[in-house]
Symmetry: D2
């Protein structure tokens, strides 16, 4: 209702700005008795952390999470879990150059239009720094889903360069700095991204997230379809411009017989012969892999001079400097995984409520 809260039963209320003292969230609705410690969350935060290769922002944040409540003797109690991440590398640099102008592609102008005031330091609330709290919440969501469900992601396109799906290898995803499932593409991207960075430019990417082992039956009719909630959760990630489920936009050019996933009994279980649906039919999970793709625009901060205006209504030029990711889509992978996990955990609890 107020923008900064995710979910209906698995509920995450977040706060924090890029350059404030800390960011954090309150995770409520977690079932009691689940084993949880800070390390369970930290391992995912470490995946999102900046400064781990030359391809991401050089901001140095340890991103250490602290559990303030809701866990007792190593298990969740059912009480809300307060999580805190102190901002350590919020440099008090001089913001004189940008505090009064609206950087193209950023939220500067729209925040100004909406609120009248804004914390211009590092983008304030509109900074992607808030995604650390998404990842932290996602780690708890995974615990709710349990070990039989797996949520993982990969970058399947960088700029104009897609992966070759015939070379897809989930193990490869952990081996390169791009979460790329195709070793050959990863090599191409490395050179491409070096060029982009050196040019002071930026590029976009497509993130694919896949949830396996999700039971059939999650989701709701009409407005809160599982795929609708997934779409919302993914598009809410900073810089996202599009989302698709299963065959997605490619479904448009298919015929019905081609697109429909036929079914057969296999070993006593209903089995689909294809997965154009992406694991969701009528807004409800089918038990197949849930597959979604997310388009991330090129990073808005570039060193090319751009035309813009300032708060005084004057035409000016802006050159963004600072420690930015040339391709934010890379760090979008763990964030997208987290959001998918959060949606599934929320719908799992909702399903238990009505049909459990």
């Amino acid at each position: 209702m107020t923008g900064n809260t995710f979910g209906s039963l698995f509920r995450v209320a977040t706060f924090g700005e890029s350059h404030g003292p800390a960011i954090g969230c309150v995770v409520d609705g977690v079932p009691p008795g689940i084993e949880l410690d800070e390390e369970d969350i930290q391992v995912y935060l470490d995946r999102r952390r900046p400064g781990q290769s030359r391809h991401t922002s050089q901001r140095r944040e340890p991103d250490r999470v602290r559990i303030l409540s809701g866990v007792f003797e190593g298990r969740t109690t059912g009480a809300p879990i307060g999580l805190l991440i102190v901002n350590e590398d919020a440099r008090s640099k001089d913001y004189g150059a940008i505090k009064d102008l609206f950087r193209p592609g950023h939220a500067d102008y729209t925040y100004h239009a909406k609120y009248g005031v804004r914390d211009y330091r590092g983008g304030g609330r509109s900074s992607a720094r808030e995604t650390a709290t998404r990842v932290a919440a996602g780690a708890i969501a995974r615990k709710i889903l349990g070990p039989s469900a797996t949520v993982r992601g990969a970058l399947v396109q960088m700029g104009p360069h897609p992966v070759d799906r015939d070379r897809w290898d989930w193990n490869e995803v952990e081996r390169n700095p791009f979460w790329c499932p195709d070793a050959v593409a990863a090599k191409t991207w490395e050179d491409f991204l070096d060029d982009v960075r050196k040019a002071g430019s930026s590029t976009g990417g497509v993130v694919e997230v896949v949830a396996s082992g999700v039971p059939a039956g999650l989701g709701a009719p009409v407005f809160d379809r599982l795929d609708a909630d997934i779409a919302k959760a993914l598009i809410s990630i900073p810089a996202a411009k599009g989302v698709e489920i299963g065959a997605g936009f490619a479904a448009v050019s298919m015929s019905g017989p081609e697109h429909n996933d036929e079914m057969r009994m296999r070993d006593g279980a209903v089995t689909f012969l294809s997965n154009n649906a992406g694991g969701v039919l009528g807004g409800i999970s089918s038990g197949q892999d849930i597959v979604a793709r997310l388009a991330i625009k090129p990073t808005s901060s570039v060193s090319t001079p751009q035309r813009t205006v300032n708060v005084h209504g004057e035409d000016v030029q802006v050159v963004t400097t600072g420690r930015h990711d040339p391709c934010v889509a890379i760090r979008g992978v763990p964030v997208a995984e987290a959001m998918l996990a959060c949606v599934l955990a929320d719908h799992l609890l909702r399903h238990k409520a009505q049909c459990g």
Copy 2:
């Protein structure tokens, strides 16, 4: 929370099945004093109504809406508006052939998996018949947005055939049975769709919706971004598989300088020099046109025999007969317009609450 309700402040609770006595909704949160009568709603329902050309379902529904509450002496009172649409052409045909099996592409299997029971007549709750209540609510949403805002839509691709944007003419949209803005494409589509229908097949489409005259400042940070809520609302439309905002998936291959919409002062107002953002930056409207596109899959009901299983766990074949749209994307246009209007009305009220 319970799936069948839209919105937070502009709130629409819907009900009804394809072959039940009626469908309807309760629209709450509407500001008082707005002029509203049944005709204001009927005009939009008439656009969505089936059976108006050979290209849509031949089900004959007058779709007459009745206002049961919330309007007094021609104006809204602030009380909830109850809307009722009686189902008149819910033929009591023999469902013996499909009641026990799961039609591919439909929600039959997933509803069965979730609820154990289901109303199999015409798809029950999962039928696109529910979209009539969306359109009715959308008509009220437009009233809340007021006359300075315009929400309109068009079909921009049918199967593999896109429109030529150089021939775009909003007036043309009202002249052909496809809401097609390109007269040439409309002609192509006519032949294409006749072939599809005669083959007992189906095809998909891309719907584009545009909202003009929306003030800057609507939306919220982080999770309830305006574009995230638009994405959810559009993907919640039956048969939707993808959504994009502004440049959408094409943004991935652009560079930052190319994608960023630069700004200049024009006649004392901030003006964007392009609209790759689709009218939303950081989740908040910029005052530019809000532009979203929606991928609709081919209609699941086809007369080609398809492999499936039944509730008894047996392999069977299914041929769907009945009065189906060969391209549901066509009737998706007024529905997508309605959903966009609903999202904007909801965020307008939310904005007034916090920043008004």
Copy 3:
């Protein structure tokens, strides 16, 4: 969020005015597979129905409920249940006398202050007529609670005349027109109420509702305590001015040792030796009877002339005529039962979600 909707998982969206064409509601979140037909609801509506004795309003409403959706072949499907009750005795009388003035004790002034416009016919949305939809929803809530739980109510005080609790007999409640559990008090009330009615005056009452067979564990910490939600639900009933749980206001004068309900094991189960808590500790049900009492003010409509003002800012006098209950607390009994059932059903589903 928008006032006219109850609950979080058991969700009831209501609409309708006293003199409009119909009232109704959408009940969403109901688990599938529950046997339900119109008669299950009608039996409770008949208890609330006006005009059944000389002690209640002489408005003649059959209050026939119609189920429009969500039930198939005698069972709930998990889809929203649309309920419709047509207003049949909404006499088109002349409202000229009251349309422009604010009746003391009524919502006329505050609705005018809030909305600017109002449906003055019979109180419009602020009429107690809306409580019929509460009772209908409550009948469904009882089905969710199942046969092991019982929710019942009684009038325990009329005006200054309380019942004698030593004479409490639940069977007696069904035998007199007051839902009075004390046959002697019922006799006293009969004479008292005749006098009140003949004097053109009105009186208040205290309703007690008791839920037995509710499992321990329903409720939530801090804000959504079970007793807090019960308090809200009961105070939301028209004319309510106070609510208490268990010992209630009497607890103030007790000492801790006196008030605390001690526990012993009895037949292998935890047993409380008293029930000052009213079945709720720390906001969570204990398995004991849940007991709440509700103070209902005297009916605002009286035939005594009263001073008030009109919409033109003039001092005027008002005499309310019409078919009013001299003691609305009587018909408050089935309404309070319904609200208690709704709160319990909602928390049962919430409990299943997190701890089920």
Copy 4:
């Protein structure tokens, strides 16, 4: 939805246990541009703080609040406000004596029944320590209401000893350790409470809260009436057993003409001649003072031995030791004020959304 969150548009998500590292909350939906610093909140926390007289718990908590986000250059930005209060006097004492048993009057048994696990240190999540976050949020709520509205409270009864309303003096409230508006009663209470404390017993109290300067029109019809939300908010305070609005339970014995608040024009404004309604008619504020009273039970922790059972299903005795308030109603006064302020702020924003 998940218990630990208050409000719909003014939204407070709380966390923290009595003996964990910290408690805190996220306050979202706050309008931008409001002056706010830590001292604005601290002043109210200091009123609730324990250990300020011999009449309250001797736990020594500085209760220093830290603002972590949402405020920039002394003003709110519209982003969520993260508040943190470190627990400093959470003594690591030996809980062996109580960790396995259920203290009568406490939430030990019900939390155990609901969650299976519980943090037994100092009551964990069910401790009244959480009320510090309510008070912090209430301070922000007051800022939203603005300087023309005043929310204040008093203790109007301790055990069997009520105040004499003829001696009511708001200034006196700040002069004694009981928030008592009657200097004579305060003297009586001092002796009474000393006796209670020395006896190892406890006593209850009635808190009255009054909001002045609240505009007419706040509230909503049917379920979210202003008085219903006030009732819920007040009953959600630990140890609350009853609530009444305006004349409350006394209204039951009044006649309609007696109870109805008549109106006259005075200096061009509608003026009520009495306030039995407590400032709310039909669930909507009338512009009069909003008056509510809250019954608080005697503190559950007493040194008298009491019968109870333990988690192993054995009958045992318990004597509660520790630093407890003999009358928690005293410290309930600033908490009740805070909750009333929160409800009013929430409804103010809701009113602006629909009718602003």
